[in-house]
């Protein structure tokens, strides 16, 4: 197991040096996108250190502070840089904690999608034949449903099955499962395609002549060689997953308002938009746009950098 991890790590590391890094330095967009992404991710991780209070904890905020505009406006309060919402929560803190929830859901749902999609893609591509045909038809069927529909379906199902008190606590896991399950097909297809190319290469034949087990060949020989495209898909789909989560939360079927994500914040703010409290919805919205945009740009750049034909 450690050998596999080492191999994967080695693969990712070597993939990061040389040409890739050079192409990275050449691209201003990529550098800026990476910088923005890095800042957003690290500030989300460090949310407890950067925020003035924990917006999940009702004892840390007060209704008296409600509806302050951003500090640069008239009536603004320097304690609340981006203002407060209708319950007196500091918007900056809420956004920091909210993006944390959004990114966690995005990250773990992609991890889950990879955990399902990569093995299926590897087996489908390596074994081929009827098994491949069956798996890919299942993938086709799933792909014909939009991700958001599948996520809504699973979310609805979970709501029907789980008792009320469990529902709140499990909501975030249901989201991760729902979004992850609707993204595995992309990984499976990419991995399958690359695996079919790799398995005909002579180094795989050499391993077969040595009588290596197919699982060994898939994991130790093929997988490290197809991590590039997987990484591209993972990056772009991370942004998509964050958006899906935001959409679900905006529709009110996502994470509960007690643990707001960016999508939840936007929905809450939406109700106050016409009463002039624009900051409650605009700031989380802007953060969501900047985050998904920069991650997407990073993914686009990665895809081009890995595709020598476009370079």
């Amino acid at each position: 197991m450690t050998a596999i991890a080492q191999d994967l790590w080695g693969g990712i590391r070597r993939f990061l040096d040389g040409d890739i890094v050079y192409s990275f330095r050449q691209s201003k967009v990529a550098v800026i996108a990476a910088l923005v992404t890095f800042i957003m991710i690290s500030s989300a991780i460090c949310a407890p250190l950067l925020s003035t209070h924990n917006p999940f904890d009702p004892t840390t905020y007060n209704l008296i502070d409600a509806e302050y505009p951003p500090f640069w406006m008239e009536d603004g309060d320097p304690r609340f840089i981006l203002g407060t919402d209708n319950q007196g929560r500091d918007m900056l803190s809420a956004i920091l904690y909210g993006s944390r929830v959004s990114m966690a859901v995005g990250f773990f749902s992609i991890l889950f999608a990879m955990a399902v999609g990569i093995p299926i893609g590897l087996i489908s591509g390596y074994v081929g034949g009827t098994l491949d045909a069956v798996l890919m038809r299942i993938a086709d069927v799933q792909l014909s449903f939009p991700a958001i529909l599948i996520a809504l379906l699973i979310d609805g199902l979970a709501r029907g099955i789980l008792p009320g008190e469990l529902r709140e606590g499990l909501a975030i896991y249901v989201m991760i499962f729902a979004i992850g399950i609707s993204h595995w097909v992309l990984f499976a297809r990419t991995v399958r395609g690359s695996c079919m190319v790799e398995k005909n290469k002579e180094y795989v034949q050499a391993a077969r002549i040595m009588g290596r087990h197919p699982f060994f060949i898939m994991l130790r020989h093929i997988l490290p060689n197809i991590m590039g495209p997987v990484l591209v898909i993972a990056t772009i789909n991370f942004a998509l997953a964050v958006l899906t989560e935001a959409t679900l939360s905006f529709l009110g079927v996502g994470v509960p308002p007690t643990e707001p994500s960016l999508g939840t914040l936007i929905r809450i703010g939406n109700d106050f938009l016409f009463s002039g409290l624009w900051w409650i919805t605009i700031f989380p919205g802007a953060v969501l746009v900047i985050l998904t945009l920069s991650v997407n740009l990073l993914g686009d750049w990665l895809r081009d950098a890995l595709n020598p034909k476009l370079r």
Partner: protein, 360 residues
């Protein structure tokens, strides 16, 4: 010769070839997927990549397969090494039938004694593995040595054996040239101490100057370890220099087999003659080079009778209907041709002068 019999206990008979192929065939189903076949009513398509191929290779000898691209040389190699099961026919390794139930159990035990060197030195080594691990893989896969240090020592030995430095083991394949990679490939093939090596165009992807070095290394290793080779190449000059026996393939069938000297100096089959005529004149004596005439047939739907008849200047009616059976001449020279059997083809002027050129 008796040296070999003494060392190999499996060779109880006086004369036991290391590898023997008997009536080997390999077909590929290249039909459209089932659904398309049903809807478009397209027929099943069977590609006969290899058809009824028989040969034997003695210990320490080199048997070469030649023929135009797509005639089935690599498929023969893959069937023998066990990558594809044969559609028909048998492969014997030191007298054991690898397809029999007993043979299959035996085959997994004997597999390490049969290794392969590939054509593309860039695709045959896993780019994500260190050279050290690549070379050690057969040792680990077959569990030949226990202990990390022992394996490492053996890998260092192998690297030096093929003319690389032990310190090269820490590098990745992309840090080496084509020739060096082919040396790594050879080291990996030798790691399990095989008796039989299959070399599928081991030099055709290399620069001419490097080809000779690799061929010489392979010859040295053959002498040192008594290796038996199945050698595949497009390059007839290379084949001439390395082979003891040559087999000429056309559309999946062996059309002529015999001692290399004999085949090159007195080619019988019209196809062999055509191939030899196409070799560029290495001595620059001014002899005209005749290009190989006509298109190679389609292996899905090969010409009837002798598959070579559309291109053969000696084709007769019988050639269009009846598949020629091989006849054996003196010295184990076998030819599958009606014209030769009927003695109606004149002897050829030796088209290829042994010793000409300086490729190997």
């Amino acid at each position: 010769m008796h040296d070999a019999t003494l060392r190999a206990p499996a060779a109880s008979a006086v004369h036991e070839p290391v590898v023997k192929a008997e009536g080997l065939s390999r077909h590929f189903d290249v039909s459209a997927p089932w659904l398309n076949r049903v809807i478009e009513r397209s027929p099943r398509l069977i590609l006969k990549a290899v058809e009824d191929v028989s040969f034997a290779i003695d210990k320490g000898k080199t048997f070469s397969l030649v023929g135009e691209s797509g005639c089935g040389k690599s498929t023969v190699a893959r069937v023998i090494v066990g990558l594809y099961p044969p559609t028909r026919g048998r492969v014997y390794f030191e007298g054991t039938d690898l397809q029999s139930t007993h043979g299959r159990a035996e085959a997994s035990r004997m597999r390490h004694r049969m290794q392969m060197i590939f054509q593309d030195p860039f695709a045959s080594l896993n780019p994500r593995w260190r050279v050290r691990d690549i070379i050690a893989e057969p040792i680990r896969a077959f569990g030949l040595l226990d202990g990390k240090e022992e394996t490492e020592r053996r890998v260092d030995e192998l690297l030096e054996l093929v003319g690389l430095a032990a310190s090269d083991g820490a590098q990745y394949p992309h840090e080496f040239s084509g020739g060096q990679r082919q040396r790594i490939s050879i080291a990996r093939a030798l790691a399990s101490q095989p008796d039989f090596l299959i070399c599928d165009e081991p030099t055709s992807a290399l620069d001419v100057s490097v080809q000779a070095q690799i061929l010489n290394l392979m010859k040295e290793l053959q002498r040192e370890f008594g290796l038996t080779y199945l050698f595949i190449s497009h390059n007839l000059a290379v084949v001439y220099h390395v082979s003891d026996t040559v087999g000429v393939m056309y559309l999946g069938r062996l059309v002529e087999t015999g001692p290399a000297k004999e085949v090159f100096s007195r080619p019988q089959h019209p196809y062999t003659r055509m191939l030899l005529d196409a070799i560029p004149d290495l001595d620059m004596t001014g002899r005209e080079r005749t290009p190989v005439a006509g298109e190679i047939g389609n292996p899905i739907n090969p010409p009837s009778g002798c598959a070579f008849h559309p291109r053969c200047p000696f084709a007769a009616d019988r050639c269009r209907t009846e598949i020629p059976r091989p006849i054996t001449r003196a010295g184990g020279h076998r030819i599958a041709c009606h014209g030769i059997e009927e003695n109606r083809i004149p002897d050829a002027v030796p088209p290829y002068q042994p010793g000409a050129g300086s490729v190997a």
